[in-house]
């Protein structure tokens, strides 16, 4: 029978548990910070587009187009990154925050409406796509990739606004009613072309105005 150094085992157990607990704690704090930080980015972006809309109400003459277009570009960029962050949160970390998603779709809708107005007044050379997907639709992931490549082919002249049809968001519900969405994926380009079912990037690009 050999000797067992019991205090050594106890010390190792205590130190390990302490390091482990500290790691978990820091990790959880950071996780909360991440959610807060995404909320903050969303708020900032929403504020920016709301301000642009206010200015537009005040003054919608074409002479201000440069300012609006600049704001829009900025907001599109931010919304694109936010979309990716939310997707990562949901798919990689299995965190589903309905409030966060609802706010994000509200931002998407605001952006869409603003872009439509700017296009009417300033006549920008771009197309607007409403993209309806669902979390239980097998083709939607591939469709998302095709949309991204369609956007790249057109040199970002295609602006995509995404909405999750399976989310409990009241905003998405309203849009689904407005555009009679019953199947996923569905893409509506410039409120004229309705593409239902999986479509390749080339088919989407064809519908983008020149």
């Amino acid at each position: 029978m050999r000797k067992i150094n019991v205090p050594l085992y106890v010390a190792a157990f205590l130190i390990t548990t302490a390091i482990f607990a500290a790691g978990i704690y820091v990790g959880l704090v950071i996780e909360q910070e991440a959610a807060k930080s995404i909320y903050a980015s969303l708020e900032k972006s929403t504020q920016r587009i709301a301000n642009a809309q206010l200015m537009f109400l005040l003054e919608d003459s074409p002479s201000f187009c440069g300012v609006y277009e600049e704001d829009l570009e900025k907001v599109f960029e931010e919304a694109d990154i936010l979309g990716k962050e939310l997707e990562y949160l949901e798919k990689q970390k299995q965190v589903y925050d309905p409030d966060l998603k609802n706010k994000y779709f509200a931002l998407e809708l605001r952006n869409y409406l603003m872009a439509k107005k700017v296009k009417d007044v300033c006549g920008g050379n771009f197309s607007l796509a409403l993209y309806f997907y669902s979390s239980n639709c097998t083709e939607c992931e591939r469709q998302g990739e095709e949309l991204t490549s369609a956007r790249d082919i057109t040199g970002w002249r295609l602006k995509v606004f995404s909405f999750d049809g399976s989310s409990k968001s009241s905003i998405v519900d309203a849009l689904k009613k407005e555009y009679n969405i019953s199947a996923y994926p569905t893409i509506i380009i410039d409120e004229k072309h309705v593409l239902t079912g999986f479509k390749k990037a080339e088919e989407i690009v064809e519908k983008v105005g020149r």
Partner: protein
């Protein structure tokens, strides 16, 4: 934080890995003064030493190997070299015979049909007359002071075997340099294992044993493909002690190509699995830290490789390009990642201690970095290949 099977597996592996790391760190800290301490040499004690050199097709290495023993700083009249030619088909036997003619008082050569290394060693043990028996691989050579540095360890009660500081002799290619670093860390780990009496291998390149040991526990297991490990496990099962010298330098040729390295490691790991199975009864508090920590960790680390593989497959590789925003950086710092980083830091500290112990060794810093960040993957490849072959019952040869 969501609790799914992936997170549970991930955190369990991390906790166990952290525990093992902390445990060995504490052992090291507790025994820090023993690391550089050497037993006092006894000028009067010069026992007869029989060095057994089993050789199979080693015409290129055998002369250098044997001459390194001849040139060792030890009285020639207290030394014999027994070369056992295991039915070589090249000029090994002729070279050995020539050496025997040159040093007739020291060298004896025996020849037998090819029957494996363990058998060759046993023939050598049978013919040996020394009080101490050393085994020396024909593709290795010892440095002049190696024997003198290892001997004093036998003065401690219960010590039956002493291991040498085996290092890589060839260091040209990338893989050879990587193995050179690996061998240094193996030495360091083995020394820490010594402190808790848990050394589980007496390396074939060069190890020394008391001759009486073989009378009591028998010779090398001829059915074993990892006979040097089996011997150490057997010594442990008899509760004898193994000591390890950090400065008795012995150089061995390491595989140069990935193929030959893979072949060697598959043999090590398959042999290791079989030996662990054979000595499963050592996993018990009766065998102290060896039974409670070291042997279970061997099994756990194999399981961990598969657990990591599972986590990797479960986490579908995220294909989307991720913009480097502050939010994304925060999102990716999960508890598992943070604990993983702590583990990495402890690992770096361990490696740093190892480097400090071998401060006379020329440090190949780029390779140390490669070792830190790629070794786990390499080991995983070796283990998975070994287990696949084992499950297919593929025939195993030396």
């Amino acid at each position: 934080m969501e609790f799914n099977i992936k997170v549970v597996v991930e955190l369990t592996i991390l906790y166990l890995a952290l525990f093992i790391m902390v445990f060995f760190m504490l052992v090291l800290v507790q025994n820090r003064h023993r690391i550089s301490k050497r037993p006092r040499p006894d000028k009067k004690w010069k026992p007869k030493i029989s060095v057994i050199v089993p050789a199979y097709n080693e015409e290129e290495n055998i002369e250098k190997c044997v001459l390194s023993v001849i040139n060792a700083e030890y009285p020639k009249n207290k030394m014999e070299i027994i070369i056992v030619d295991d039915g070589s088909t090249d000029k090994t036997y002729e070279i050995a015979k020539r050496l025997e003619r040159e040093y007739p008082k020291i060298i004896k050569v025996y020849r037998k049909k090819n029957s494996g290394k363990a058998d060759s060693l046993n023939l050598g043990i049978e013919k040996a007359s020394g009080e101490i028996i050393a085994t020396l691989d024909a593709d290795s050579y010892i440095t002049p002071k190696a024997i003198e540095k290892m001997l004093p360890y036998f003065k401690e009660k219960g010590v039956m075997a002493v291991t040498a500081a085996v290092k890589a002799s060839n260091r040209e290619g990338f893989l050879e340099r990587l193995q050179a670093v690996e061998y240094i860390y193996t030495l360091f780990s083995r020394k820490v294992m010594e402190f808790i009496d848990a050394i589980y291998v007496t390396p074939g390149p060069f190890s020394m044993f008391k001759a009486e040991l073989f009378k009591e526990i028998g010779g090398f297991d001829r059915n074993n493909i990892l006979e040097d490990q089996e011997m150490a496990m057997r010594i442990q099962s008899y509760n004898y002690k193994i000591r390890s010298s950090l400065d008795a330098d012995v150089y061995t040729e390491v595989p140069k190509t990935f193929g030959s390295l893979l072949k060697q490691r598959i043999r090590w790991h398959r042999g290791g699995l079989r030996n662990s199975y054979k000595y499963l009864h050592l996993i018990s508090p009766e065998y102290g830290d060896l039974g409670l920590i070291v042997l279970p960790v061997g099994f756990l680390s194999v399981l961990a490789i598969f657990a990591v593989l599972f986590v990797f497959i479960y986490t579908r590789v995220y294909s989307m390009p991720i913009p480097l925003t502050q939010n994304f950086l925060l999102l990716m710092l999960t508890p598992a990642i943070i604990i993983g980083v702590m583990l990495l830091l402890l690992n770096l500290l361990w490696i740093y201690f190892g480097l400090k112990v071998f401060k006379n060794e020329k440090i190949d810093l780029p390779m140390v970095l490669v070792y830190i960040f790629s070794y786990a993957y390499l080991i995983s490849i070796f283990w998975i290949s070994a287990i696949i072959k084992e499950l297919k019952f593929e025939k195993l040869r030396w």
